[in-house]
């Protein structure tokens, strides 16, 4: 059963500084892009114990700090090796300037 979880107020967030969250078993991170927010799984499919949110953000792409696999922040799609799988993408809504993620 999925639920909406509060992430942060959009104004408090900074572009290029993802917010890592743990919801139960799920590790994810929320990214600010202009006046939007996006949430994707945070564990790199290539080497599971590495957080994408520790990596380098360039516009709408996040690069894993370990081996530089890139992922589209909006969709979670993997963009190049060595990772070969996408990360999950979670629905996001913004209500009264606050970002919520559905997990």
């Amino acid at each position: 059963m999925s639920q909406w979880h509060r992430a942060a107020s959009l104004d408090e967030m900074q572009e290029g500084e993802p917010l890592a969250m743990q919801v139960g078993e799920v590790a994810l991170a929320v990214y600010k892009l202009g006046c939007e927010a996006h949430a994707i799984g945070d564990l790199c499919p290539h080497q599971k114990d590495v957080k994408l949110s520790d990596g380098f953000v360039d516009g709408d792409v996040v690069e894993c700090p370990m081996h530089q696999s890139c992922f589209d922040i909006r969709t979670g799609k993997v963009m190049g090796p060595p990772a070969r799988e996408d990360v999950p993408s979670y629905p996001v809504k913004i209500e009264d300037g606050v970002v919520y993620v559905e997990v």
Binding site: P65, Q68, P81
Partner: protein
């Protein structure tokens, strides 16, 4: 006279000279000099030569790999995603650790255990931890380019299911390196190229690699060292035999014709030569009864420089990979194979006949034992000289087993390439 560090002496082997009667003598120091060994690796193994690496059927799926050796360098034979074969040096571009510590497996990419540098199946550097630093500190310089720091790739040639590789940039093509006669034999012994892997043996020989190579080019010892041959009639003095050095002694062929009808019995001369009691019997005589699978009544064994011997012993087919470790240690790695087309009877026959081969084989055990005994003697007397005049003093092909022409041929080639 004082010598300081800056006056380091010339490497010992460069000050040595081959004995006067060059063609028919071998100096024992070539089996024990460590710097000579290094030079041999450069000239024969890591240089412009084609080296056996493995069989294509050992790496069937994309990402499948097998570790092997070219000279003293560890390499990985890998099936890439396009279905091609890569041979990569197993040495991280970062600090030189071996990136792969397993003998075989199936992977999506390679990650070095030390700093986790990650390479794709073709050896390209895909990623390295903290390229951009951690928490704003460290990281590689901005101008660091991954495409300049991949694994060293060897040039690869595959033919009839076998994989060969070379480190040399100037190595001629495989066909030229083998020459016509060896190429024809490779095609004969590999048949359709649809090889079926039967199994492996591995052994560590406490001797110089050239002692094994000589042994594999020495038909003279066959009826003398290997009592099993005589007792069970596998080698008879009435078989036709040709000893042929090729390409100036680079490779060597030993071809005999036999009769499947008489195999397993002794003629009178063989009985006289047998040094074991003739009341020895085998429980399973299939072990010494081959089938003429190539249809030419021939048993042809050949040695391809620098590191591989193609065995046809009855129906036991194997590739013996000579892997030098040091001047006094050599790994001998056997790959036993058959063909996809083999029926169950042939498969069984090959497995049984393989009991003559390998580290504990009824025949092959003699070679490793005698060479293990020889090495310390060679080391104790480096200035002593071996005499190889059986069959004469030249290097022409001969139609007899009682010749050392193939050994003389090898050393003629060796001296030329080593500048000795």
């Amino acid at each position: 006279m004082n010598t300081t560090v800056s006056e380091a002496p010339v490497s010992t082997w460069q000050a040595r000279r081959w004995p006067q009667e060059r063609e028919a003598r071998i100096p024992a120091w070539i089996y024990s000099d460590p710097l000579l060994f290094q030079r041999e690796m450069e000239v024969f193994h890591h240089g412009p030569t084609w080296n056996f690496v493995g069989l294509e059927c050992e790496v069937p799926a994309a990402g499948a790999y097998k570790r092997s050796w070219v000279g003293t360098k560890s390499v990985l034979m890998v099936r890439d995603e396009e279905g091609g074969i890569q041979v990569l040096e197993n040495r991280c571009a970062h600090r030189g650790a071996p990136i792969c510590w397993e003998n075989k497996g199936v992977v999506k990419d390679f990650t070095c255990p030390y700093h986790h540098w990650n390479y794709d199946l073709c050896g390209n550097l895909q990623g390295l931890p903290f390229l951009r630093g951690a928490m704003g500190k460290g990281g590689m310089p901005r101008d660091f380019r991954k495409d300049q720091h991949g694994l060293r790739r060897l040039r690869v040639a595959t033919r009839r299911g076998l994989v060969w590789a070379t480190f040399g940039d100037a190595t001629p093509d495989l066909e030229s390196y083998m020459g016509e006669e060896i190429l024809a034999l490779l095609d004969r012994t590999l048949g359709s190229g649809r090889l079926r892997l039967l199994g492996y043996n591995r052994q560590l020989l406490p001797c110089n690699w050239k002692l094994y190579l000589e042994n594999s080019r020495d038909p003279y010892h066959a009826t003398l060292l290997h009592s099993f041959f005589l007792t069970f009639g596998l080698l008879r003095t009435d078989t036709a035999f040709r000893a042929v050095p090729t390409l100036g002694g680079r490779h060597a062929i030993m071809a005999s014709t036999y009769s499947a009808a008489t195999a397993g019995t002794q003629n009178e001369v063989t009985k006289q030569l047998a040094s074991l009691k003739t009341d020895f019997v085998l429980q399973d005589m299939d072990v010494v009864k081959p089938v003429d699978e190539f249809g030419d009544s021939s048993m042809i064994n050949f040695s391809v420089l620098p590191s591989v011997f193609f065995q046809q012993h009855g129906n036991s087919l194997a590739i013996r990979h000579i892997i030098p470790k040091s001047e006094s240690s050599t790994e001998l790695s056997w790959t036993h194979y058959g063909f996809a087309e083999d029926d169950p009877a042939m498969h069984e026959r090959r497995i049984k006949q393989a009991n003559l081969m390998g580290p504990a084989g009824y025949v092959a055990v003699d070679d490793s034992e005698v060479l293990a005994q020889m090495q310390p003697v060679a080391e104790s007397a480096p200035d002593s000289v071996q005499v190889v005049e059986m069959g004469g003093r030249d290097v022409a092909a001969q139609e007899t087993m009682v010749t050392e022409a193939l050994i003389r041929g090898f050393y003629a080639y060796y001296r030329e390439k080593m500048g000795l």
